[in-house]
Subunit: 186 residues, 2 copies
């Protein structure tokens, strides 16, 4: 059957994704080598690269379902996060969700951030989060130039930044949240 996946291949793909997710979440993505993942999945290294191409793609594949879940909430969920809500509430709900998402998946996202020059920003998901952020900011501040503010807010939502503030500086996550909302304006 053309375009379809052999049964053993599908089994291995699932095993690799599960093993990678486990190891990444437990040890931090930067500490886990491709060999580690292959061994944990009970699979040869070649299989792993054949399925996913390279390390970055594997990380993105692990992250993908979590991105998709959040995307669904943003695009089709109930207000204020979903469409149809009042602009100020929509903006704040969006910031909260992003903050939560980044915090929960910080080890994976950090690994993407620290790969290549603009690799993280070039990621399609990032592009989407940024443009959606710009949209919601503009709805709250029509006419204003929110370009720079958009990027500052997005940068303040980087995993390494949040992680540094919360884990390194022991800043209360609610303080971070409040700071973000304050920057975004009422």
């Amino acid at each position: 059957m053309a375009g379809s996946e052999r049964a053993d291949a599908a089994r291995n793909r699932a095993a690799i994704l599960a093993a990678a997710a486990d190891l990444f979440d437990r040890d931090g993505a930067e500490q886990v080598s491709m060999n580690d993942i292959a061994r944990a999945a009970g699979v040869g290294k070649g299989t792993l690269f054949r399925r996913f191409g390279d390390r970055t793609a594997l990380i993105e594949a692990v992250l993908y379902p979590r991105v998709a879940a959040m995307l669904t909430l943003v695009e089709q969920g109930p207000p204020p996060l979903g469409p149809g809500g009042e602009p100020v509430a929509a903006l704040h709900a969006y910031l909260d969700s992003l903050l939560d998402f980044v915090w929960t998946n910080r080890t994976l996202i950090r690994a993407l951030e620290h790969h290549g020059p603009y690799a993280y920003y070039a990621n399609p998901s990032s592009q989407y989060w940024i443009s959606e952020l710009a949209r919601r900011l503009n709805a709250v501040r029509p006419g204003e130039n929110t370009d720079y503010l958009t990027h500052v807010l997005f940068t303040a939502l980087r995993a390494d930044v949040i992680d540094y503030l919360v884990s390194g500086r022991r800043m209360d996550p609610d303080r971070v949240r409040a700071g973000l909302h304050r920057l975004a304006g009422s």
Copy 2:
């Protein structure tokens, strides 16, 4: 002579620093291996590690004189950047200087940013820049809690962020500058 450096050792140290600075500035620090530097300096790899310990320390050593120069201006130069100026002007002069410093040395600073979890923030220079920023912010906004704002501003001054905005997004550096000043408040 105890504590002193043999003549050949001093010569090699200078050669290594010069070669490293050249290569880093020309090719971007992330592209340059320790072997490259050793070869360019006409020195064995062992010598390079004996002098500087590891890659991070070498990068810091290359950056050090530039940091020291800026430090002198901040601590002993004429107002508004140096001490004695009016608080608002002092803050804005400081932001401008930091922006300029980061942009000029972006390849070196990026290399530090992408090393270990909090390596960049743990760097003594960073600690100083941050605390000085907090001081000047507080002088302008007495009584307010400027903790989070301080870190957001400092993050907005990361080399990878500025580089992404200016080189990647083609944002006018003056726009970045204006945005920073706006965030810092009048």
